[in-house]
Symmetry: C2
Subunit: 378 residues, 2 copies
């Protein structure tokens, strides 16, 4: 890709300043971060090694000053190439004290109360027994993070948006080539493998997520793994990918039909594109997530049981707001979201379409190459 | 692949019976499971949708009777295709009550104390604030799971071992083809992309993990992402993969040299193979993890600072014991582990070799196609 890898130090300093501003408002002495996106957001520490659950990783954000990394020594060389200068390591995994004493000390230096991400979409990536020990050993007050980290991450910088757009371009080129890999008699499992290959060929670093489905007039759900059942003439094939470029996701899908499309599938696809367009037009600063949901649901003929029709996107496949009837989050410039309307096509069958957009000062702008209304035939 | 997908119900019944036997010994009323491998181990629920952090998923194992799934409705169709019959759903994400009430009710029916995985390698995959609410709302006592889930998972069934062996065969075929993708002038980032393609072509369902490194006489670390720096003559290239087949991982590596190898790299590779062989010979029932570590460390010339030289393997890239000086876990038939010796080749440079084996009644057996002592030239 033509974009440089990683970000300037100024980007991380800005993220830190925004977090510390909110910490001051909330009266927090420190934030304790334990998950991959949280640690990476403030450091730039990018590795697939998080796939291994064996070692915990910690980042302490003090109320003033720079972050302190408390990490397994196996990560020292890589963390040292980030902008962080205070890097403390231990030989993990240590069955007797897996970083708890070292972390307690770093937190005591920062002082409490210690905010820990505790609300929607978050978890604490360390053993619960070690968290109890940490609380006892540090003697500090632990509380929730007042959604500070999620709030910072929700507004993307220009550099972040450029990365998501580049990831979208990768997937767009791969979707253009679906005709090379999908044909009657080819199993869905084989299509999944080949589509991951196309994404890599088009420049994805890796493909953490691929879902999809196939069937006449749509598919039963969008989270099942592929089976060895072969595609047949008339099947609607949907592929939905989260491909990653430099640590940022795209998340959109395409429907195609094998051979020739029936009237139901063609009409459903046209309706999905119309609903997506309605979402794109509705999405602008000051509008609520539920308003965008409603604009799409109206066209798609969906009710609340249809669930959410889009979500935030960035360092994770899904993050932040939901386009649902219940989510009243107000859209702001810099938010990157997916528009993901669903249409029921037959009993137990649906079709789903998805695009990625960014909220701008004046409205919104597509990051994925928008699909036309005609259901593509391969 | 020739193996059928998934397992017979008898496999899950056996896993449940083993867990419930241990729960009875520990006096637990229920186990609460929240992570992908924990839920899948007892249900067979296999989806890449866990990549999305937006929804929590819960499984309740009662002291008697079958497990209860408390999950987002988007997963109902897929969970219904497993052996579970008690599946309770809610429309997630629900910002007001994201499954907590439903889960509290299911746990109250089972009764406490509720064991939650709380020790090494585990975490609680739900927001901490929701966990506090769950404890208050259920009125039950929550405690740790006495390592019951880890203990069950550590001993693999014949069907599980067959899957890991099949994943190893996929990676073995891909490693045989490294000569197709590695050459002077090709960037390491491009080699990483192409190697993922080879793994998919050879039958991997997906490639959750790929690491590696390249340089003269080895590499600085084994967790950094690939850069755009091109390979040059004489570089030692290492690729280390966790490829997945039907939900089970392989985890082994290969070193090759670009062009021709220097004496240091050739000697280091021969030593690594010798250390691996020593590990294979030492690994048998009744021997401790630290004993296997010591057998390898002696040959590799490593001390405790070198860290662990292998680990358990299965539904996760790394799981269970560590081959380290500190881990006194006793090996049992059915344990699948990696042997991963490391040799320092120059200041700041290492070489690592890795193979996968299973502990048998009489000793151990290789699951990956063992490498010869000669450093392969591509």
């Amino acid at each position: 890709m033509s974009l440089p890898r990683g970000f300037d130090v100024a980007e991380y300093r800005d993220r830190l300043a925004r977090a510390q501003g909110r910490m001051a408002d909330a009266g927090l002495g420190a934030l304790l971060l334990t998950t991959e996106p949280e640690v990476r957001y403030f450091t730039g520490f990018l590795t697939r090694f998080w796939e291994s659950p064996s070692r915990p990783w910690f980042l302490v954000l003090p109320a003033q000053g720079d972050p302190v990394a408390v990490i397994p020594s196996i990560g020292a060389a890589l963390m040292d190439r980030t902008w962080l200068r205070d890097i403390r390591t231990w030989a993990a995994p240590d069955p007797k004290d897996d970083g708890v004493s070292l972390l307690a000390e770093a937190l005591r230096e920062a002082g409490g109360p210690v905010g820990v991400p505790s609300h929607g979409e978050t978890h604490l990536r360390m053993p619960l027994a070690d968290f109890d020990r940490l609380k006892a050993q540090s003697g500090l007050v632990f509380t929730d993070d007042r959604r500070i980290v999620a709030g910072c991450r929700a507004i993307k910088s220009a550099a972040e948006i450029a990365r998501i757009e580049a990831a979208c371009a990768v997937a767009g080129r791969a979707f253009d080539r679906v005709g090379e890999i999908a044909a009657p008699g080819v199993s869905l499992a084989q299509v999944f493998r080949q589509f991951q290959r196309l994404l890599l060929e088009e420049g994805a670093d890796w493909v953490p997520y691929l879902a999809g489905g196939a069937g006449p007039e749509g598919y039963a759900d969008v989270i099942s793994p592929a089976t060895d059942a072969p595609l047949v003439q008339g099947d609607v094939l949907m592929l939905d990918t989260g491909a990653v470029l430099d640590g940022y996701f795209c998340d959109f899908d395409r429907n195609v039909v094998i051979g020739s499309a029936g009237a139901v599938a063609r009409a459903a696809h046209a309706r999905l594109i119309e609903a997506t367009q309605a979402g794109l037009e509705a999405a602008r600063p000051g509008v609520r997530a539920c308003d965008v949901w409603r604009a799409m649901a109206r066209v798609a003929g969906a009710d609340e049981a249809a669930g959410r029709m889009g979500h935030g996107l960035g360092m994770q496949l899904t993050e932040g707001l939901s386009l649902s009837a219940a989510d009243e989050t107000v859209l702001c410039p810099g938010m990157v979201i997916t528009l993901e309307p669903v249409v029921r096509t037959a009993p137990g069958r649906i079709m789903v379409h998805e695009e990625n957009i960014v909220i701008t000062e004046g409205g919104s702008r597509a990051l994925s190459p928008l699909s036309g209304a005609d259901l593509r035939v391969v």
